[in-house]
């Protein structure tokens, strides 16, 4: 780790972080604001969902609107948040490593006192900080929404809500690690974002396809995203004791591998 570099990288990237974090927080608040209206018609909406083909409801995590966290899980954590964070992971990891190598600015960092190991560790830390910041702001916005709009009149299980956020963070810790690994090995910015984008959205698509029907269910086993099941967490049926350590291990391994390989490889600077 290099404190100077970390500070500078945060400064440069703070604005995009905040944009995503505030966008996400705003969306959560909107959901909480809408929920009381939805909850009044929960039975009617549930029946609409039941009338849809079974796979569709499952694929998009529409698990019923019986509680605020179930509503939010379906409306936000099941799809939109995942897409936002996948974009953040791919963009940011590419920016932090491959772009600096591609454009040559990495030469300045490495010709100063910082070693490659330090630079790579620092950039990995910036990526994780960004993800953490976005999810932390999102989580806090959820609490604020609960306090403002629900005022204790509706069910809101704080424990499950936090668990759902933790699951999202760990999933993108792992996805971010893989994008970081790709980025650390690339000399070309476009290639890096192309490959890590294909991996992240490939995982996402496999998971989505797997959810549509029982026959395609095996596809989910190929995807990291199957370890992230916000709807199961809400129903209390999630196997987080298995999923959390696996996601953490995948993330740590990918980051470590990225750092080690970056130290050894030839750089065209």
């Amino acid at each position: 780790m290099n404190a100077v570099l970390y500070r500078q990288m945060l400064k440069v990237n703070l604005k995009p972080f905040l944009n995503y974090a505030l966008g996400s927080a705003f969306y959560i608040l909107l959901m909480f604001w809408l929920y009381p209206g939805v909850a009044g018609n929960a039975a009617a909406i549930d029946s609409i969902i039941r009338s849809m083909p079974e796979g569709v409801g499952r694929a998009f995590g529409l698990t019923g609107f019986g509680s605020a966290e179930a509503f939010i899980s379906g409306e936000y954590y099941g799809l939109i948040l995942v897409l936002i964070l996948a974009v953040v992971c791919v963009q940011l990891s590419t920016q932090l490593m491959a772009r600096l190598v591609d454009q040559g600015a990495m030469a300045y960092l490495l010709s100063a006192r910082a070693t490659r190991g330090q630079v790579a560790c620092t950039q990995a830390a910036v990526l994780v900080t960004g993800l953490f910041l976005i999810l932390a702001v999102t989580t806090l916005a959820g609490f604020a929404g609960n306090a403002w709009f629900l005022k204790g009149d509706y069910d809101f299980d704080t424990g499950k809500y936090v668990q759902m956020n933790a699951a999202a963070f760990l999933l993108f810790f792992a996805v971010g690690g893989i994008s970081f690994l790709v980025s650390a090995l690339s000399n070309d910015e476009k290639k890096a974002s192309g490959i890590s984008g294909a991996i992240a959205f490939g995982f996402f698509s496999l998971d989505l396809l797997g959810k549509f029907s029982d026959r395609t269910d095996w596809l989910r086993n190929l995807s990291l995203f199957s370890l992230y099941r916000p709807d199961d967490i809400i129903r209390g049926a999630a196997d987080t004791e298995l999923a959390f350590p696996i996601l953490t291990a995948v993330g740590l391994a990918a980051f470590a591998l990225g750092i080690v390989l970056f130290r050894r490889r030839d750089l065209p600077l």
């Binding site: 570099l5 440069v12 600096l100 040559g104 010709s111 910082a114």
Partner: protein, 295 residues
């Protein structure tokens, strides 16, 4: 101070460098010349420890630049051939950041360099011209007072006045015992700063020469305009190698023997003399092509 020993690197496309060996003494300014794609940048990347040699090594003050990365960096200053900084910063913010990264506390040296190169450091980097970026790069490479400065085409993009300032800075640093390695296309710059120069071609060093030797190799074309057409014939009969003639305008090729040319020319009334220098790469390539043919 800087020793490149049997450096060999082969790329998958078959290109690369072969057995590159040269040494630069402390306080010496060393030129590194060769056409594009000859291996200059590859060699420089090895010197900076950005690439792992297949064979051989680069040592700076006894430290291996690949194996002892992290320890040699404080000794080195680097100006890349292609300038690119971190986006979203002003020149000054970038230099402050680099100073912190290099562990430079004293900003006096940086301020002095900035003053001499005369640029507005508060400009955002993406709005800077090529020359301005080059100046920022030069300051970043030299502000931590490195023992060895590795500069890849340092004057590209600089106007003639700034090129002169740059040459002065290099000469002052040299007098303070600092070592330089620079690649360049401009002969006046190499001529005024360098003690010796290596020439690389197709991945191998073809020669390491004293700069005076290089000067004597340089062929210059003098264009002499005579007042009197009759003198032209007499001048042509003198045996000087005449390149071309157009009325009273005669071009003479001179290599090394300036005295004979001056003596011969002084016999006649001359309206004007102009000089055309061959560019550096041409001189070397001509010279070595000829040498290869004769041997």
């Amino acid at each position: 101070m800087l020793a490149v020993e049997h450096l060999t690197k082969r790329f998958p496309n078959g290109k690369g460098i072969r057995d590159v060996t040269f040494a630069v003494k402390k306080g010496e300014v060393f030129g590194f010349l060769g056409p594009n794609g000859a291996g200059k940048s590859t060699t420089i990347r090895h010197i900076m420890g950005f690439m792992k040699p297949d064979r051989g090594c680069v040592k700076v003050n006894g430290l291996d630049t690949w194996k002892d990365r992290g320890k040699v960096q404080p000794l080195l200053g680097y100006l890349p051939g292609e300038i690119s900084f971190i986006e979203g910063m002003t020149g000054l913010a970038f230099l402050d950041f680099m100073a912190d990264l290099q562990g430079v506390k004293d900003r006096k040296r940086r301020d002095r360099l900035m003053e001499r190169l005369q640029f507005d450091a508060s400009t955002p980097i993406r709005k800077m011209s090529k020359g301005m970026k080059q100046k920022v790069g030069i300051v970043a490479a030299l502000m931590h007072d490195p023992e060895v400065a590795v500069l890849d085409e340092p004057t590209s993009g600089l106007d003639p006045l700034m090129q002169k300032v740059f040459v002065e800075i290099v000469l002052e640093e040299k007098a303070r015992g600092k070592t330089f390695l620079m690649s360049s296309h401009s002969f006046p710059e190499i001529e005024r700063t360098c003690d010796r120069a290596a020439i690389i071609k197709d991945g191998s060093i073809v020669a390491v020469n004293d700069i005076h030797e290089l000067q004597s190799m340089q062929r210059k074309l003098f264009e002499v305009v005579f007042e009197d057409e009759a003198d032209v014939q007499a001048f042509k009969a003198s045996g000087l190698p005449i390149d071309s003639q157009e009325g009273t305008r005669v071009r003479v090729a001179v290599q090394g023997n300036y005295r004979r040319f001056v003596e011969e020319t002084a016999k006649y009334k001359i309206r004007s003399i102009d000089v055309f220098s061959q560019n550096l790469e041409d001189i070397f390539m001509n010279y070595y092509d000829r040498k290869e043919k004769t041997s």
